[in-house]
Amino acid sequence: MQRIGVFICWCGSNIAATVDVKKVAETIKSEPGVVYSENYQYMCSENGQQLIKQAIKEHNLTGIVVGSCSPRMHEATFRKTAEAAGLNPYMVEIANIREHCSWIHKDMDEATEKAIVLVRTAIAKVKLNAPLQAGESPVVKRALVIGGGIAGIQAALDIADAGFEVDIVEKNATIGGRMAQLDKTFPTLDCSACILTPKMVDCAQHEKIDILSYSEVEEVKGFVGNFNVKIRRKARYVDETKCTGCKICMEKCPSKKGLNTFNMGLNNRPAIHIPFAQAIPNVAVIDPEQCIKLKTGKCGICQKFCGAGAIDYEQKDTFVEREYGAIVVATGFKPIALDNFNEYGYAENKDVITSLELERLMNAAGPTDGVLLRPSDGKHPKVITFIQCVGSRDTSGCGKPYCSKICCMYTAKHAMLIREKYPDTEVHVFYIDVRTPGKNYDEFYRRAVEQYGVDYIKGMVGKVYNENGKLMVQGSNLIDNEQITIESDLVVLATAIEPEPSIRKVATLLTASIDTNNFLTESHAKLRPVESPTAGVYLAGVCQGPKDIPETVSQASACAAKVIGLLAKDKLKTNPCVAVPDEMMCNGCSQCANVCAYGAITYVDKEFRLGGGKTEIRRVASVNPAVCQGCGACTVTCPSGTMDLKGFSSKQIMSEVEAICKK
C-alpha cells in the first residue's frame, strides 16, 4: 500500500500570492494514497527539508510529491532530502506549481485549481515510481578545450596546472585567437600581445598541454566523464615536427598575393606563411587555394629552400581519436558581416573600416607598422569619426538585438590612443548610450572625454557618403537637437560581434543547446553560468555571450575549476533513468538499436523455458545502462512495448495523462 506525502511550498509569495497553498494541501489530503499533506513557506530551506524528513519517518512515506518550483531547480535538493530520511531518492516527484502555474496565472482560483491538478498528476506518477539505484562510470582524466583564444588558453592552463592532461583544438594554424589581433586592451592600455603571448608560450611548454592547431572536432561520442572525440588534423603541408619557423619559405614563396586574414585582409601574405610573429606553434602552413605547387603541380620553391625538409605537398588530413572526461567550449566570436548596413558605405569606401581593422592599423606588427595611415591613400587621417552600435541593439532584423558589450569601451580606447599618439587629430564618436559598467571603466571613458577631448555626440548616423574624397558622416545630435554632417578622413564602425559560425557544428556535436543568436545556452543564467545543460560540457568566453577579456578570463578559470572538480573524481554517478527491456517479451527485432544514438543496445541469445521441460533460444535486446542516456527513442520504436524507460515508464506517463485529463 502506497503512503504518499505531499509538500506544498509557498516559495515566499512567489507561489502563495497566486496559489491558495493551504487549499491545495487540504484538497490533496483526500486523494487516495495520500497520508500526509502540508504546506510551508520555503520547502527548500533547512526547516522545510527537516519537515519533509520528519514526515517521511513519522508517516512511513513510500513516496513524496513536492509542489514547488521547477524540478530543474530543486529536484536534486529534494531527492537528497528524501535519501537523508531513508527514502529512495527516485521516489520523489515535483509538481511545478511556480514556473508553470503561479508565475503565469493571475487569477487565484484558476491558479489554485491548476496547482491541484499538477499535484494530483505528480501523485499519479509517484505512485508508479520504483526505487532506482544510480550506477557508476569511470572518469577519463583528460580535458578537451575547443578553441585556442584567450578563453581556451586560460582554461587549459588552469586545468593543466591542477595536474590534468589538456588538449587544445584550434581550427586556425596558431592559438591566440582574437586577442592576438588586438593592439592595446582596456581599461589599462596594456599591450595585448605582451600579456597574451607569454600565456601562449606557457601552453606550448606545459607538459600537460597538447596543442592541436589547424584541427577541428569532427565527431563526439559518449557522455560526461567518457567522451570519445574524433579530431581532424587538417593538412598544413608542413611537417610540424620538422619546421623550425625560420620563415625562409615566406621570403621565397612566389605567390604573395593572399589576403592576410590576421591583418583583417588589409595587406597580403605568401601562400606559405606563419600567421604572425609570435604564433604558437611557430610552424608554417600552406594555403592550398593560393599555393602554385598544390594548384598546378609546378613550383616547389619552398621545398627547395627549406633546410629542415619540412615541406610535404602530399600531406593529407589525418584523424586522431581521444578520450576526455570534460570538454570546454571556447570558440569565440567574429565581427558581423556588414552587408545589411549599406548606409555606412563600408563596401564602397576603403576608409570606412571596422574597429578590428583599426586595431591592426594601430598595431606595430600590423600592415602599417603601427602608424595610423588610412587605407585608401596611406595618408594620416586628420578627422576620425567613430560610429557605435553598428549592428548591435538592432531590432530591425538587419543586425543583432543584443548589446555587444565591448564596443563602448574599445571605442573609448581607440579614441584615446589616437588622441595620445596624434594630438592634432580630431575625434568624434556617435553613440546611442555609453555603457561602462565594470571596474575602472567609467573612469576610463571619462578620461577619453575629459582628458583627451574626444567629441562624444549622442545620436545615430544616418548615412556615410564620399564627397570629393572626403567621408561625409551625416547624423543627428540629440542633445542639441540638430542634424549634423562631419567631414571625416576615416570612419570606424564599432561592429557588433557574433559567435564564431563554427559554433553551430560544435553545438550539434556536443548536443549543447544554443539560443536564437547562436550563443550557447548556460545551464542556469545566474547560478550555473559556465555549465552547458549537457553534463561535462563547459562554456568559456564569447561563445556563451558577449564579454570582454577580464570577464572571459574569469569565466575560463571558472570552467577550469568545474573541470578540475569533475576530473578529480574517479567515478561519476550515472543517471538510473535508463531504458530497460522486458526480455520475456522481446522479439529481438533490432529496431530499437536503429534509433539509439549511443549504441547502448545490443542483442544476445538467451535461453527461455517454455514449460514442459522445453527451452527456446531467443534473441533479445540488452541495454548497457552506463551508455544509455535515457532519451526513450527505443521505447517508441518497440512495437510490443518491451522497451520501457525507468523513471518515465509508459504507465507513469499514461497515469499523468489520465490525471490531467480527468475532469
Binding site: S70, P71, R72, M73, N96, R98, E99, H100, C101, W103, I104, H105, K106, D107, E110, A111, E113, K114, V117, L118, T121, R504, A507, T508, T511, S513, I514, D515, T516, T521, P533, T534, C577, V595, A597, Q629, G630, C631, G632, A633, T635, V636, T637, L645, F648, S650, I653, M654, E656, V657, E658, I660, C661, K662, K663
Partner: protein, 151 residues
C-alpha cells in the same frame, strides 16, 4: 445566477503538452520566470525527449478527454540526445496525418520546437494553440464515451 450558467457553458479546452526536459520544459520554465502568461488549461508533462512520446500517449490523452495535444522538443539539430527529435518529427508527421485521415481535425495535434531560451515563444505557441482549439471546440471524435459520462 445568469453569469454562473454562461460561465459553465463556455468551452475551455483541456490541453496536454508534452515537453522535453532539456529545451521545451526549460522554455516553459523561462516563460514562467519571465511572467509570460498562457492559459491555465495547458498542462505540461515532462519527458526526457520528445522521442519518448509514444503515439499511445497522444491517443490516451484524447481518450481521456483532452481537446488538443501538443508536443514540444528541441529544434531539429539541437536535440540533447543528438537525434531524438528527428524521429519524433517523422513519427508525429505520420501519426498526425493518419489521425486526420481517420477524420480527426488536423488542428488538434501539433508539434513545435521550443528551445530553452525561447520563453517568449513557448508562451506564444501555447496561447495560439489554446486559441485554435477553443475555436475548434470540444474533441468528440477520438474520445472514450465512458470517460465523458462522468461529467
Amino acid at each position: 445566477m445568469q453569469e454562473v450558467t454562461t460561465k459553465k457553458k463556455e468551452f475551455t479546452p483541456n490541453i496536454v503538452a508534452f515537453c522535453c526536459n532539456w529545451c521545451s520544459y526549460a522554455g516553459a520554465d523561462l516563460a514562467g520566470s519571465s511572467r509570460l502568461s498562457y492559459p491555465a488549461n495547458v498542462k505540461i508533462i515532462r519527458v526526457p525527449c520528445s522521442c519518448r512520446v509514444n503515439p499511445t500517449f497522444v491517443l490516451k490523452a484524447f481518450q481521456q478527454g483532452a481537446d488538443g495535444v501538443i508536443l514540444c522538443g528541441c529544434h531539429p539539430g539541437d536535440c540533447h540526445y543528438v537525434t531524438g527529435n528527428y524521429y519524433t518529427r517523422r513519427r508525429m508527421a505520420l501519426l498526425f496525418n493518419f489521425l486526420n485521415y481517420m477524420g480527426i481535425e488536423k488542428e488538434r495535434t501539433r508539434v513545435e520546437w521550443v528551445s530553452a531560451a525561447e520563453g517568449q515563444r513557448f508562451s506564444a505557441v501555447m496561447n495560439d494553440f489554446v486559441k485554435t482549439i477553443t475555436e475548434l471546440g470540444e474533441n468528440k471524435r477520438l474520445t472514450d464515451l465512458r470517460v465523458k459520462e462522468g461529467e
